[in-house]
Amino acid sequence: MHFELWQLFLVSILYLGLLFLIATATDRHWIPPSIAQHPLVYTLSLGVYATSWSFYGSVGFAQKQGFSFLAIYLGATIAFVASPILLRPILKLTESYRLASLADLFAFRYHSQTAGVLVTIFMLAGTLPYMSLQIQAITNTLQIMTQSAQNGHMALGFCVTIGLFSILFGARHISPREKHHGLVVAIAFESLVKLVTLLTVGLFAIFGIFGGFFELNQYLELNPEASAALFKPVREGPWATLMMLSFASAFLLPRQFHMIFVENTNPKALNTASWAFPLFLLLLNISIPPILWAGESLNLGIPADLYVLGITLDSSSKVLPMLTFLGGLSAASAMIIVTTLALASMCMNHIVLPASFPLRLSIGINMYQWLLWGRRLVIVLIIAAGYSFYLVQQQYNQGLVGLGLISFVAVAQCLPGIVGLLYWQRASKAGFIAGLLTGGFIWAITLLLPLFERAGIIAFPFLNIPNLAISTTDSALWSLAFNGLAFVLFSFMLPQSKEEREVSNACFRKGFLVPQGKVRATSINEFEHQLAKIIGTDIARSEIKRALSDLGLDHKTVNMASLPLLREQINRNLSGLVGPVLSRMIVNQHLQIDRATKSALADTIQFVESKNEKTRSKLEGVSSELDTLRKFHFQVLQDLPLGVVSVSENNHILSWNNAMARLTGIDQKSIVGQPIDNIEQPWQKILTSFISNKNFQIRELKAIINSDSYVLNLFKAVVSHDQKQRSGIVILIEDHSQRYSLEEKLAHSERLASIGQLATGVAHEIGNPVTGIACLAQDLQSEPNNSIILQQGLDQILKQTNRIDNIVRSLVNFSHTDRYHDHSADSLSLRDTIDQAIQLISLNHLSQSLTYDNQCDGTIYILGYSQKLIQVFVNLLSNATDASSQGGKIEIQAFLNGQTVNTIVRDYGKGIRKDHLAKIFDPFFTTKPIGEGTGLGLSLTYNIIQEHGGSISVSNKEEGCQFEVSLPRFKPIRN
C-alpha cells in the first residue's frame, strides 16, 4: 500500500492545524484551566522524552540490543521515583530564582557566566544533530509511504511549520513566570497521539498479524530464539550504563528540563508525574516486542527501525498507517518544538545577551519586545541549524544514525554538576568547568568526531580519529569517570569564592542570599531612575511594579528596609528575562550596594525574617531547634508588658513590641525598619532625646500625648555583637501613668483628710476675725460720724478679711486636685514653701501652744512642685506637732550640700520607737489610734520626694526626732 504525497501533506497540515487550535483554545481558556493544568496533562507533556527515535527506533534497538532498549526508559523511571530528592529540589530552585534553563541553573549555582556558556555550547553540540534526525525520520517515513524519492520541500515545510508553532506558542512570553499553557497542552496531546498509536499498532501486531495472544505465545514457543534474543543482552549488554544515561537524560535533556521545571505550574503535579510518567513510558513500550516479532514474521524487508510503519502498511487499512505517520510526526514535532524553545532560552541568556551586554538600548526601545523578538530570531536560527544538519546528513547518507545515544552521553556530562548542585556543597565553579571540559573532550574525540569522520563530514589527515572511537557506553563511562574526577579534584584545589559560597548555601537551604552592604538608592523613584538607564523607563517601572506585587508591597508601604528585598526580587525577575548572571550584573551596576557600609541591621533582619518565614518548614535538625528557640525569645520580647524598642546603629527601628504598639498606637509593621525620625511626635522626640542622653535611665518622664497625661520610666542599654562593635540600642519603657493617677487620687484624699483634721483650727482662725469684724461694725454703727473711728474700723475690717482670705486661699490651694504634670517643675523658695506649710499647720488647735522656727535662708531655692512640697512639709510638721508636748518647739533648718538642699525638721517630743523606724514610710503604717490617721501621710511624703529626685530619712535624737529631706537645688541665673 502506498499514499500520495499530497494526501500526507494534507494530513500533516490538518494535524499541525489541530495542534495550533488546541494551543489557541488553551491560551484563550476555551479549554478550562482545570483541565489544561491538570497533573495528568503535565505528565503527558513530559512524554516529549519519547522522540521519533523512541517511536520508530525502539523496535530497531530491540532487534539489536534486546530488552536493553527498556533501559532508556527504566533510567528515566528511577529519576522520577527519586523525584522527592532529585527533581523537587531543582524545581524549587528554578521557581525561586526564576531559572529558565539548565544553563541558567548551572550559571546560578556556580556563579559563572562561563559555566552557562559552556553548558549552552555543549547542549547545542549534543542536540542540534539529534534534531536533524527528527526531520530525517519524517522524510524517511514519507519516502516509505509514498514509495518515492525524498522530497526536500516537505522537510522544509515541516521545519517552517514547527518554527511558526514554536514562535507563536512557545515564545509568547519572555519570563519563565508566564507559563505557556497552550504549548503544554499541545505537547501533551502529541504524547497521547504517540501512546495511542503505538498501543494500536501493538494490538494490531498481536491480533491483526498473529491472531491473538494465544497465537503470539505459540509463535514464541515455536521460535524460542525470538524471546531469548531479547533477554540475552540484558545479562550481557550495557544495561546499567544505558540506565545511567537515561537517568541523566530524563531531566537534563533541554526539552525535559523545559517541560519538567520551566513549564511547571503546580509543584504537586510532579508528585503525580513521579509514578504516572513511568507508567506512560511502560505503556509506550509494551507494544515494542510484538511489533518486532510481527515485523520479523512478515519478513518485511525493511530496517527494523521502520517496522512500526511497515506492519501497518502491510494491512488493508489506510487509517492505521496514517495514524502511525501522525504518531511519528507528533514525536518529531514535539521534540523539535520544545528543544528549540529550551535552546533558544539558553542561547539568548548565555550567548546573545552576554555578547551584547550592556544592552545598548535607547529609551525609545521596548526591552520586552527586543528580548521577545530576539528569542524568536534565535528559534528560527536553531531550526535553520537543525535543517542544515539534516541537509548535511542527507549528503553524507546514513552516517549519523548513532546520534541519539551520543546526545544522551553529551547531556550526561552535566550529571556531576547536578550532583554537586544538590548534594555537595563544596563543589566549585572551577571543578564544574574542569569536569565539563574533560568529559566533553573525551565525548568529542571518542564519539562525535569519529562519527563525523566516518560520515565524511570532516577529515583529520594527520590524526586517525576513527581509531579513537569506542562504544557509546564505554565512552559514557570513561567521559563521566574523568569528568567526575576532574570535578572533585578541581573543587578541592580551587575552592569556592565568597559569592559562590553564598549561592551554594542558598541551594542547600542553609540560608539565603542576604544582601551585604547598604543599598545606595534611598527611594523607589531612585531605583526606577537607575534601572531606566539600561532597560528603559517603562520597563523599569513595570519591573518595579511587578517586584512590589511579588513582595505584597506597594508604593505607599515600601520603605528603606524594603529596598534590599525589592532589589533581590528585581534581580530574580530579571533573571527570568536575561539569565541569572546578567541580571546580577544589571542589578549590581545600577542598583548599587555600598559594601563599605555595613548593611543596616534593620534591613538585614527584615530580609532574613521574610525569607525565614518562607523556609521555616524546611529547617532541619539543630537549625530547626535554634529557630524554635529564636521564635520563643522573639515572642517573649513581643509579649513583654514593657515597651521594648531596639534601634540600630544608624537609628532605624529594629523591633517594636506589642506593649509599645499599645502604648503609642503605632503598628509594629508600619514602623519596623523605618528611621527613628519617621516616628510620630512626641515619641520621636522622647526616643531621640533619650538615645542622645548620656543617662541610661530617665524616671518619671511626664508627657502629654493626645491630650492624655503620661508618666514614663525609660531605660536603655547598648547592644553589641562583640566587645568592640556597637550594634544598636535597646530601650525599655515603663508606663506608670495609671499608678500615678491612683497616687494622685490618694494624695488628694490625704490632703482632704488633713484639712478635716484642721477643721477645728480653721473654724477658730476664721471665727476670731469674724468676731472682730462684728465688734468693729457695732462700733461704727454706734458712732457713725466719727471719721477717725470710721477710718480705723474700716482698716481693721480689711485686715481681718485679708486674714480670712489668706486662710481660705491656703486651704483651697492645698486641697484642689493636682494637675502637676500639666506644667513643669518651678523654682521655689524653700523658706516660703515652709512658711506656707506652717501657716496651714497653725490652723491645727494643737499648734497653738507650739513654736515653729523656720530658720531657712530665704536665698535657697529648690526645683519642684509647690503644692506637693507644701504637702510634704505639712505632713512632717503635722507629725512633729502631734509628737510635741505643749510649749514645745519645732525647728526647721536648711543647708546646702553640693547640688542638693538638705532640710531638717526637728522636734523635741517623745521620739519614734526603734522598731517603728524601719516601717514609718510604709503605706498604712500608723501609730495613731484608729480613725485619727490614715497611715498614708509619710508614705506619700516619701513618694513625692522620690519623684523630685530627692530622699528622706528619719532618726531619733536624744530628745525628739529629726526628719532630713534632701531635694535638688535650684540655682537662679543672676544677671
Binding site: F67, L70, L74, T77, I78, F80, V81, A82, P84, I85, L220, P224, S227, A228, L230, F231, K232, V234, R235, W239, A240, M243, N271, T272, S274, W275, P278, L279, L282, N285, I286, P289, K618, L619, E620, G621, S624
Partner: protein
C-alpha cells in the same frame, strides 16, 4: 505453577526480604542517617524505594528475571512493581504530609 511463576514468587520474596532488611538497617540501625527526624523521613523513604528499584534492575537481581525462557512480559512486570512503589511512596508522603 510454571517456572516463570515460581521465579516471580521467588523474586517477590527476595524483594520483600531486601526491603525489610533495608528498612531495618536504614531506619532502626541508622546506617545512612544518624537519627531519623520528621524532616529527614521523606528522604529516607525515597532512598529506600530508589534502592529497591535499583536492586530490581541491576545485577545480580536482574539475572533472576532475564533467563532466555522468561516470559516476555516479565520486564514489564518488574517495571510495574517499581511504578507501584513510586505510587505508594507518593501516597505515603501525601498521607503523612511529609
Amino acid at each position: 505453577m510454571t517456572c516463570d511463576g515460581r521465579r516471580v514468587l521467588i523474586l517477590i520474596d527476595v524483594i520483600v526480604t531486601i526491603g525489610n532488611t533495608l528498612s531495618v538497617d536504614l531506619i532502626s540501625v541508622n546506617i545512612l542517617v544518624p537519627r531519623s527526624t520528621p524532616e529527614t523521613r521523606p528522604n529516607e523513604i525515597t532512598i529506600i524505594v530508589v534502592l529497591i528499584a535499583l536492586l530490581l534492575l541491576l545485577p545480580p537481581i536482574v539475572v533472576l528475571w532475564s533467563f532466555n525462557d522468561s516470559y516476555w512480559l516479565v520486564p514489564y512486570l518488574i517495571w510495574s512493581i517499581i511504578i507501584l512503589l513510586s505510587y505508594w511512596l507518593q501516597r505515603h508522603l501525601k498521607k503523612h504530609a511529609l
